[in-house]
Structures are given as C-alpha cells and as structure tokens.
Symmetry: C2
C-alpha cells in the first residue's frame, strides 16, 4: 500500500514536492494500534520514529520505583512525532507510548530515514529541522520538570 | 579573516568538501574569551551556536533559588558544540557557558546556519544530524538527572 495521501495530509510536510512525498511514502509503514496497547515500550530497543495520524496516545515514564506516570498526552490533530530520540541516537526507548484510543500511525526506521535524507537532502534538512525543534522542546520541558522536582525536594528538606 | 584552517581541524566536519568548508568559513565568527567570562548567559536571548576550538568551559544552570551549579565541563579536545538549543528553537538560553580558561570559539548564528543548510543541503543534513545527536544526548542526561532528584525527593519524604 502506498501512503501518499496520508503524507499529504500532514501539515509539516507541506511544501515537499510530490515526487519527494512519493519516495517517502515508499519508506514508511502504517500501523493500526488498538486502545490500550503500547506502540513503544520504555527500555526496549527500536529505531522507528512515528507520526500520529488518527487517535490519541499517552507518553508514560516509569519512576525509579517502577511506578508509571503520564508525562504527555497527544492527539492526532497535533500530528505529533514520537520515537525520534531512539531513532536519532540508536539507544533504548526513553518512554512508553500507549494508545488511549484506537490509533493509526506511520513509522519510518533509522535506515530508511537516513536513506531518504541522503537521497533527498533538501527534504532531509526540513525533516531534521523539525526533529531538532522537537528535541529542543523536549529538553526545555525536562528542564522545567527538573526545576519543579528540585524545588519540591528543597521544600521537603526545609520543612521535613 | 577566513577560518578555513580552523574548520578543517574539526573532526565532525571531516568529509565535507573544501568548497563547502570555505562557504561555511565565511559565515562563522571567531571569539577569544578570557577565563572567567561568560560566552552565553542563561535566560538571555541569542541565536548563535558555538564550537569550542581552544580552552575549557563549564555549563552552569541556576536552581530556582538562583544558586549556580555546574552541569557539565567541556574542553576543546571534545570539539563540543553548545548554544544549539536556542539556535534551533529561537528561545532563551537554557544555561550559562563560562570560560574556565582562555577560550577560542567559532560561532554561527541561526540566519547563517539556515542559509548554509538551504544552500548546501548535503552539508545541512550532516550538521543537523550532529545537532540532533547532541540534543538527544542532552535529553537522556536530563532524564537521568530528573530520576536522581526524584529519588532523593521520595527518600526525603519517607525518612523526613
């Protein structure tokens, strides 16, 4: 199956030529994930990056005690990208992504992503800019979380 | 002044053609920063990304109480890049970078970086991959820090 029409509906890919989108559509896979199932599992290996086309997901991390907590909720309207950290650095998944409704996603693995960027560097620059923006946003969010937990720790020490 | 020879000494730029490095060298600026001075100040605006050519720097963040703490130390042998978060997302500096010895850096601002990536997309893909790798590493480090402070908070609550 060719996912060209799916790709054409994604706002961040606007401006890409039809032939580029067609090449990209041949490198992606579609996944249908029922509500409650995990698309990505924290700690596992995996080199795919996903874009959410239909449905809703939660991004979940485990505390050091193994307790899960939801760090973000995303829906298809946001055309969110996830899984990009492990795709970029080839390391373990840093969070679980769980479908909270029936979901449709498109994925691309590291090998195909690299191939697409090398074959069509003008598109590669666009996609890598988007990924970098995502990663930068992620760092700032983690910074805020760290500050918040640090503040709670200091208050706990002072009043405890 | 042209910084071609400087750029040629940077391992991550190996594999770039001479004409690409020459174009890049015309878009960068060299800075000499005495020990003790700040190259970047947390909270300020600024769109330059830096690469450390000579010397040593500390990356410093402030707690919510304004107390500085060193989150990383880097020396020129690592050919570290810093300032890339604000260059990518155009937001405020997320940390201070202070010279701990006399330093030489090369900087490129967002406008020139974008121009270089657009004009020479094959090089753009290489540079943006490096930046993405840097950002991903940064996220994983922040994740570890968050877990550590969270653990300390829980222990403080349980024993406090």
């Amino acid at each position: 199956m060719n996912y060209l029409s799916r790709l054409k509906s994604i706002p961040v890919l606007e401006g890409m030529k039809d032939e580029d989108l067609k090449a990209l559509s041949e490198l992606v896979k579609e996944h249908k994930t029922p509500a409650g199932e995990d698309l990505i599992t924290e700690g596992e290996t995996g080199s795919e990056m996903y874009i959410l086309i239909e449905g809703k997901v939660d991004v979940i991390k485990k505390t050091i005690f193994g307790d899960p907590f939801v760090v973000a909720s995303m829906d298809a309207g946001m055309h969110c990208v996830f899984g990009e950290i492990a795709m970029i650095d080839n390391d373990k998944r840093s969070a679980t992504v769980r479908a909270t409704s029936d979901c449709v996603t498109l994925s691309i693995n590291r090998k195909n992503f690299d191939k697409f960027c090398d074959d069509r560097p003008e598109c590669g620059v666009k996609l890598l800019r988007l990924i970098s923006m995502n990663l930068a946003r992620n760092i700032r969010k983690e910074n805020d979380n760290l500050r918040m937990v640090y503040q709670a720790l200091i208050e706990e020490i002072e009043t405890g």
